[in-house]
């Protein structure tokens, strides 16, 4: 591929061959094409009421659930969708602390929760809730050894099981791995989705931005207490500014007369703008010991009075990554294999982005049926009373 050098030294790839159709010549054809374009534009404008209707109909989460435990603001949800429960070992989803967990149950046809329900699991979800100023001093230890551990104990008591299946997504995956390393005897299987474990790669923009030379996490936490949701939301959006601020809206315009697209689009928009603050101390722990010092893979990540040793993990592990993930690069997740002691380790990857792993149609078609089957094979069967 030939490349052009720019004044900033960045090489451009050679022009892509888009085919020969319609850029030069044949003015009549061009006029017709524009006429069609204006007609399409008119149809899109006429679709505006449908757009508003779709926006108004958007809900948060799609599967019915009940709250089985509440420790304000944290709640433990149990999904009550109808399914033939075949597996005894329950599944607990552990989502990140920086967004709401209903992305795992966004829409009926894009619900990871429903995939597990359909596969015959009892499904629970940690809803970390929206932290208030009273939660600003909560540490990662409070979340992992406090809320998460009590939720696991509650689920085990309710289901009369000895072990649980943990599914952790993004930062929740890191927390699930930490929990498994501390309570391996309670974890039957560990499934991680785009979970950052190793922060040594400098390819991620987030890692550049949190460079200690430019980012004083201590001052930020000491000043703000709770890390404002707008700060986190804008940081994530700025990772792909052109895609998030321009291309997304162009894509919306192109497909705004498609009702199914509108349903998906607004569900994602509602979720991605539903940012919540994060407890400052958790943020400090994660940025300092993870992003800046990369202590987890070294077995030196402090949690409470202990150091997290991922080598304590001996259960079967399924590590899912997304090829086009710009938030947690696959190279940040895959080193897990070398840190744990499990002999049953499986890695799967899907052509998707960070969120595409949970809501992408390719993931739901290719990855989740395999992932639920993987977990089903390794779970205890449901006892018949």
């Amino acid at each position: 591929m030939t490349q052009t050098q720019t004044p900033f030294g960045m090489p451009f790839p050679s022009p892509v061959d888009f085919g020969s159709s319609g850029f030069m010549g044949d003015p009549t054809g061009a006029m017709k094409a524009w006429q069609t374009e204006f007609e399409t534009m008119g149809k899109k404008l006429a679709a505006m009421p449908k757009v508003l209707e779709a926006a108004m109909k958007t809900k948060k989460g799609s599967t019915p659930h009940e709250v089985v435990m509440s420790e304000s603001p944290v709640r433990l949800l149990r999904y009550t969708g109808k399914s033939d429960k075949r597996h005894g070992t329950p599944v607990l989803f552990v989502f990140a602390l920086v967004n709401r967990p209903y992305v795992l149950d966004l829409l009926p046809h894009k619900s990871v929760v429903r995939q597990f329900l359909s596969a015959g699991f009892d499904v629970y979800m940690m809803d970390w809730g929206v932290p208030s100023p009273a939660d600003a001093t909560k540490t990662l230890h409070d979340y992992v050894e406090g809320h998460l551990h009590r939720a696991v104990e509650r689920i085990l008591a309710d289901t009369e099981q000895d072990q649980i299946n943990l599914v952790g997504y993004c930062m929740g995956g890191t927390m699930a791995a930490m929990y498994a390393s501390l309570h391996q005897e309670l974890v039957k299987n560990l499934l991680l989705m785009a979970a950052p474990i190793d922060w040594s790669s400098r390819d991620s923009l987030l890692l550049s931005w949190t460079d200690p030379q430019y980012f004083d996490v201590d001052s930020i936490v000491d000043t703000f207490g709770l890390i404002p949701p707008a700060f986190l939301g804008n940081s994530f959006a700025m990772l792909k500014p052109v895609a998030n601020y321009f291309q997304k809206w162009q894509g919306f315009y192109e497909k705004m007369d498609d009702e199914r697209f509108l349903e998906d689009f607004f569900a994602m928009e509602v979720w991605s703008n539903d940012n919540i603050p994060i407890a400052g101390e958790v943020y400090r722990d994660f940025v300092k010991y993870g992003f800046q010092q990369n202590l987890l893979v070294q077995g030196r990540f402090p949690l409470g009075g202990k150091k997290i040793n991922l080598g304590n993990i001996t259960c079967p592990v399924l590590n899912l990554t997304a090829d086009a993930d710009h938030l947690v690069l696959p190279c940040q997740s895959t080193p897990l294999k070398d840190c744990i002691s499990s002999t049953d380790y499986t890695a799967m990857s899907v052509k998707a982005g960070h969120i595409g792993l949970s809501v992408g149609s390719r993931a739901h078609k290719d990855i989740w049926p395999k992932a639920t089957a993987w977990m089903g094979e390794r779970s205890a069967p449901r006892s018949v009373d």
Binding site: Q5, P7, S21, M24, P27, A30, T36, E185, L205
Partner: protein, 196 residues
């Protein structure tokens, strides 16, 4: 368009801003598959591209821009912009400006907190955010200490109950808790079983 006299020329004698837009433009048109573009020869540093504006065989002065071609051009433009944005956001210049912005935001917040703490709270005789944080911190510390003590008592109680009932431990977690627990006055526990 006049070039700024003090701006250093970039590669090819073009100032960086013009050079940047020329690259994006070239990339966009090339990406769209358009071999030449008119009207750029008059702009310093933006060379005219052959093949456009001379033939007169289209109502658009030589190039029949179809919506499809425009879309491809737009896609290529976005791609070029995304690459530049990524490169810029990794640069020390951006990181320095980010640091300055954060410092200013923190300074503003500290000033606001200080003002509210010193003036507003005394004027309205109400607790400020700062004093709330201090109180919450103290409560959390006490809560953590209490939880720790209760956990220890719970462990000891479990041990006592097991000794009284004479049953083996049910789960590994209990066993782990047992191994962690400190030596207890067994004789005393056995003599006085806890009533629930």
């Amino acid at each position: 368009m006049a070039e700024p006299q003090n701006s250093p020329p970039a590669s090819g004698g073009v100032d960086p801003i013009t050079g940047f837009w020329r690259d994006v433009w070239a990339r966009s048109t090339a990406g769209a598959g358009i071999p030449g573009m008119p009207g750029m020869a008059g702009i310093p540093g933006m060379p005219g591209m052959p093949g456009m504006g001379q033939t007169g065989d289209s109502p658009f002065g030589g190039a029949a821009f179809t919506p499809d071609a425009m879309r491809r051009m737009q896609g290529a433009f976005y791609e070029a912009m995304a690459q530049y944005a990524e490169q810029y956001m990794r640069s020390p210049q951006f990181l320095e400006s980010m640091k300055r912005s954060m410092d200013q935001a923190m300074q503003l917040r500290q000033q606001m907190d200080g003002f509210l703490k010193s003036n507003m709270s005394s004027a309205f005789e109400s607790a400020s955010g700062g004093s709330n944080s201090e109180i919450l911190g103290a409560i959390r510390q006490s809560s953590a200490q209490l939880q720790s003590q209760i956990a220890k008592i719970d462990e000891r109680l479990s041990d006592v109950e097991l000794v009284v009932s004479g049953k083996p431990r049910a789960s590994k977690s209990s066993a782990k808790a047992e191994s962690k627990s400190k030596p207890k006055p067994q004789s005393k526990s056995q003599k006085k079983p806890t009533k629930r």
